[in-house]
């Protein structure tokens, strides 16, 4: 796999990764470079604050983000006046971050910028919707927070790329991680058959602060799954079979953890979770779970692949550790390697 402008064009792409210095921001810069070469004026933002020149913990130099005229970015008010790119403010995000109010701005000339993004998924989603709805940019690249793929599901239709930095010392660990992410990202989707939503939803059930929770708990009460407070429902057999699921099938409205997996009825043959970001099992536990039960998702998240930065490691050795030729098709290597030029 080789990264190209079309991989980012006309869509929202989250770049995420498992830990600090896995190459997310460097990859963001490369994505922006590809889009610029294709004549686009992309938008970009971060999740949280990532503007420091050096990392607080390691003092490692962090990549700068170059912004060209006409491009759109999100930052905190304190960095706007200091920015050399002559920012034009397009909108403000609701509320305040630890760095002050956050603004969506357009660069009126080139310059380097510091991006500060919202910590919360809903605010990231707000910013993305504004950028896309107003037509400020059609291609948006998000420098995501580490180890938080959940943010990808906050914006419908977003794709995510998973950045990995791999060396000899952590080769096995990172290969396992890649296999887990790929397994989850490829879970089959079973969308709800009917989704009636008039924008208001059903009136809340009394006695509960959260209407949805009440519905879920009520559903649990009806089907008798695993005791009170366990947010799951049994999918009617007819509905399950119509969807191609083996009955008894259950839907879990919350994270799938080792604990929640253990609380599922023993006769469960299928389980549907909201999306793959709600699965918190490691590779081994996931394997055990899937040997006994079918696992699917209500909504799938578009997975763009892995971008792998190797240090002191050959591609052949990495792919051997990956142990899956199909999975290797989802791997793009360091886009800064001269050989890739």
């Amino acid at each position: 796999m080789r990264l190209e402008a079309k991989d980012f064009s006309g869509r929202v792409t989250f770049i995420t990764g498992p830990e600090k210095h896995c190459g997310k921001t460097t990859l963001l810069n490369r994505a922006l470079g590809l889009l610029r070469e294709a004549g686009e004026k992309p938008a970009f933002l971060g999740v949280g604050f990532d503007g420091e020149c050096r990392d607080d913990l390691t003092a490692a130099r962090k990549p700068r983000i170059r912004c060209e005229a006409g491009e759109v970015f999100v930052t905190a008010e304190r960095y706007l006046r200091a920015s050399a790119c002559l920012p034009e403010i397009l909108d403000l995000l609701p509320g305040r971050s630890a760095m002050g109010r956050l603004a969506i701005a357009k660069a009126r000339r080139g310059g380097e910028v510091i991006i500060v993004g919202p910590e919360r998924n809903d605010l990231a989603s707000f910013a993305l919707e504004r950028i896309r709805e107003e037509g400020w940019a059609s291609s948006v690249v998000v420098d995501g927070a580490i180890n938080r793929i959940t943010q990808v599901s906050a914006f419908f239709g977003a794709r995510f790329l998973f950045a990995l930095r791999v060396g000899p010392a952590d080769l096995d660990r990172q290969a396992k991680r890649a296999r887990l992410v790929a397994s989850l990202a490829c879970l089959p989707a079973f969308p709800r058959a009917t989704a009636s939503n008039d924008g208001r939803g059903a009136p809340p059930i009394r006695g509960s602060e959260n209407a949805n929770a009440a519905v879920f708990h009520g559903a649990v009460g009806l089907c008798g799954v695993a005791g009170p407070g366990f947010p799951a429902r049994r999918i009617p057999d007819s509905e399950a079979e119509a969807s191609g699921l083996n009955a008894p099938a259950y839907e879990l409205f919350g994270p799938l953890t080792e604990d929640s997996a253990a609380r599922l009825p023993e006769d469960a043959r299928s389980l549907i979770v909201e999306d793959f970001t709600k699965v918190f099992l490691d590779l081994a536990a996931l394997g055990v779970f899937r040997r006994g039960k079918f696992l699917g998702v209500r909504s799938s998240v578009d997975f763009g692949g892995f971008v792998v930065v190797l240090r002191d490691l050959s591609r052949e050795r990495f792919e051997a550790a990956l142990g899956d030729d199909e999975l290797a098709q989802f791997v793009a290597y360091n886009p800064y390697e001269a050989a890739c030029a």
């Binding site: 810069n29 490369r30 470079g33 590809l34 610029r36 070469e37 990549p63 700068r64 170059r66 008010e77 706007l80 006046r81 050399a84 002559l86 920012p87 034009e88 403010i89 397009l90 909108d91 403000l92 109010r101 603004a103 357009k106 009126r108 000339r109 080139g110 208001r200 059903a202 009136p203 809340p204 009394r206 006695g207 240090r311 002191d312 360091n334 886009p335 800064y336 390697e337 001269a338 050989a339 030029a341």
Partner: protein
């Protein structure tokens, strides 16, 4: 300001009335309207309330005038949604400026201008002011003269708006444009020139790197180069910075040449001057905005009124609400065809019929009798629901609603779901505590009865200065004799208070019959329908659903004459063992007060059958 006033509605009364469920459908669009919604403020002044009704009707009239142009209404909603909150610092700065002006007038040694030399507003705050004005102005163009007059809408900040319009590529966006300062244009032209030179120098360097050294940096500010391929870069440290990447590669970055560094230096000088000029522009724009603060605050107030009126009007249309009639005399209460919307929504969800309520009361106290599931509580909820809405400025779901405005609305009793309202201290904080019997807080250790008495004490204190107090099954947790004694005393005391109205629901028919007190009862079970249901041999679950249709949810005067027991009949319908039901009827008929009607036993005999016992809860 709402923040400084106390809402007329106690948290317990709010909860009991289920006003929150209605509130969830109340959708103001501006941040100011949303703030007001969050206040959940219930008025206690008739003039204010009538003003709110008037504004709702003004908006409804405006919408009617625009019936042929629905798109304009959509555009109004669009602009309301886009209106941002004005920066807090604007109000603070205005306050400081105002104080400074007063000092100046009083001869104190103050700056004659009173203007700060530093910008008091940040770039984003100027943006907020501009976006506010852009949407406010657009909104005004969409409403007619009558609506403008009704909501005091006027656009007077033209000079500020014109100034802010200079900066931005559209009506809402903002940047410090060249036109704000004569030096900016020159500085920015110079910076653009430097940028072009830097770009040309870099382009040439990158072209050379690709052509001579085989390093293609396009779209990348560094490359990871295999060691053997990096010899050229290592050999030209003036063109590249090179650092080890791993054992097999170097990380190579293009280095700016001397000329590029010199241009960068000049550019940096221009940037510093530009920043200074921008700061002066911001200070000037800040002064302009602060000077307009009073008008901006007036615009905010007008917008808030319009937004809330629009949201109330939307509910009035959706739920066919009517304007309440507010009376000067306390103790006047009349509901015709009153719909308790939360209950009607429940009924809709459960596929049950909903009965509207007619209720009329003259006097300062009423006692409402009725059997289990007969609708006493729902009747009280309906009354309080309408009263809360009416005093919050809403039209109400009724064919007619005539009431008095009370300074306080109270509820005394058990809330649904086992939640109890903790009396005195909690009420003052507006705090609601779910559950009962916690050892924490002021009410720790109190029983349900204790909580009730504390809530009573608070309601009593307020009732002296005017209150509507609703008692649901007051004192039901104590013995019937004690409860009847306490209830009788409470009814007597509340009935004597001018300016207050109290409504008591109770099972206890031995409450004293007092002057100036109305005694009412829910009509209750339709015996003929109940008999038919039993005869139909329906499953219990289906029969439970039909109890709703067997109940007559109407209120009638209570003569004080004994009547047959609905409770035993309902228990039978719910599957109570026939033998137990029959014995219960026997005991009821021969109770010591001797007031039981002889036909009760016959009626029961007709309708009771052997059914498995099953507990349930009436939903509507």
């Amino acid at each position: 300001m709402h923040e400084a006033r106390k809402s007329a509605c106690s948290p317990a009364a709010w909860t009991f009335s289920r006003a929150e469920e209605f509130w969830a459908r109340y959708v103001p669009l501006t941040p100011y309207g949303k703030d007001a919604k969050e206040d959940r403020f219930v008025e206690s002044e008739r003039v204010s309330i009538e003003g709110l009704y008037d504004e709702t009707e003004e908006w409804l009239a405006f919408e009617a005038r625009r019936a042929g142009d629905p798109a304009s209404l959509d555009r109004i909603s669009y602009h309301l949604k886009r209106l941002p909150r004005l920066p807090d610092s604007l109000r603070a700065a205005f306050g400081a400026l105002d104080a400074c002006s007063r000092d100046s007038r009083s001869g104190d040694d103050a700056s004659p201008s009173g203007h700060p030399s530093e910008p008091v507003l940040e770039l984003v705050e100027i943006f907020q002011v501009k976006k506010f004005l852009a949407n406010y102005r657009a909104l005004l163009e969409l409403v007619d003269g009558e609506a403008r007059a009704a909501f005091s809408l006027s656009f007077e900040s033209r000079a500020l708006a014109a100034e802010l319009d200079k900066g931005g590529s559209d009506a809402e966006s903002f940047f410090i444009a060249d036109g704000y300062d004569p030096t900016l244009k020159g500085l920015r032209a110079a910076i653009a020139g430097f940028d072009a030179r830097i770009a040309a120098l870099r382009g040439a360097a990158l072209e050379r790197a690709a052509r001579v050294d085989g390093l293609d940096f396009r779209g990348r500010d560094f490359l990871v180069v295999p060691r053997e391929a990096a010899r050229a870069a290592l050999g030209d440290r003036s063109a590249y910075s090179v650092e080890p990447y791993d054992s097999a590669a170097y990380l190579v970055r293009p280095q700016p040449g001397e000329e590029e560094l010199a241009v960068e230096e000049e550019r940096a000088l221009c940037l510093r001057e530009e920043r200074l000029a921008e700061k002066n522009v911001l200070a000037r724009l800040s002064r302009l905005a602060v000077g307009e603060s009073r008008r901006l605050q007036a615009a905010v107030a007008a917008i808030r009124r319009l937004d809330l009126a629009r949201a109330r009007a939307a509910l009035a249309k959706e739920y066919r609400l009517t304007r309440p009639e507010l009376s000067d005399s306390d103790g006047e209460l009349e509901l015709r065809g009153a719909r308790f919307l939360p209950c009607s929504w429940d009924c809709e969800r459960f596929g049950l019929a909903y009965s509207a309520l007619d209720f009329r009361l003259e006097g300062r106290a009423a006692v409402l009798f009725g059997s289990n599931m007969g609708g006493k509580t729902v009747a009280l909820e309906t009354i309080l629901f309408l009263q809360v809405l009416a005093q919050a400025g809403f039209h109400v779901p009724a064919l007619g609603f005539r009431t008095h405005v009370y300074p306080r609305l109270h509820f005394v009793g058990e809330l649904r779901g086992g939640a109890a309202y903790r009396g005195i201290g909690a009420a003052r904080d507006g705090e609601f505590v779910g559950g009962r019997g916690s050892e924490e807080g002021e009410g720790g250790g109190l029983s349900g009865f204790g909580f009730e008495i504390r809530a009573f004490v608070e309601a009593w204190a307020d009732a002296n200065s005017g209150a509507l107090v609703v008692f649901d099954e007051f004192a039901r947790t104590t013995s019937s004799r004690e409860a009847e004694a306490i209830l009788s005393a409470a009814v007597e005391a509340f009935a004597s208070l001018r300016g207050s109205l109290s409504l008591f629901s109770t099972h206890f028919i031995g409450v004293a019959r007092l002057p100036r007190v109305s005694y009412l009862r829910m009509t209750g079970l339709d015996r003929a329908a109940a008999s038919a249901a039993m005869a139909a041999d329906e499953p219990v679950a289906q029969r439970i659903r039909r109890i709703n249709s067997m109940m007559k949810y109407s209120v009638e005067a209570d003569s004080g004459q004994a009547r047959e027991s609905d409770a035993i009949a309902i228990a039978s319908l719910l599957g109570l063992d026939r033998g137990i039901a029959t014995r219960a009827a026997h005991f009821h008929d021969h109770a010591s007060d001797g007031h039981r009607a002889p036909e009760a036993k016959d009626a029961l005999g007709e309708i009771s059958r052997d059914r498995p016992a099953e507990s349930t809860e009436r939903k509507a």
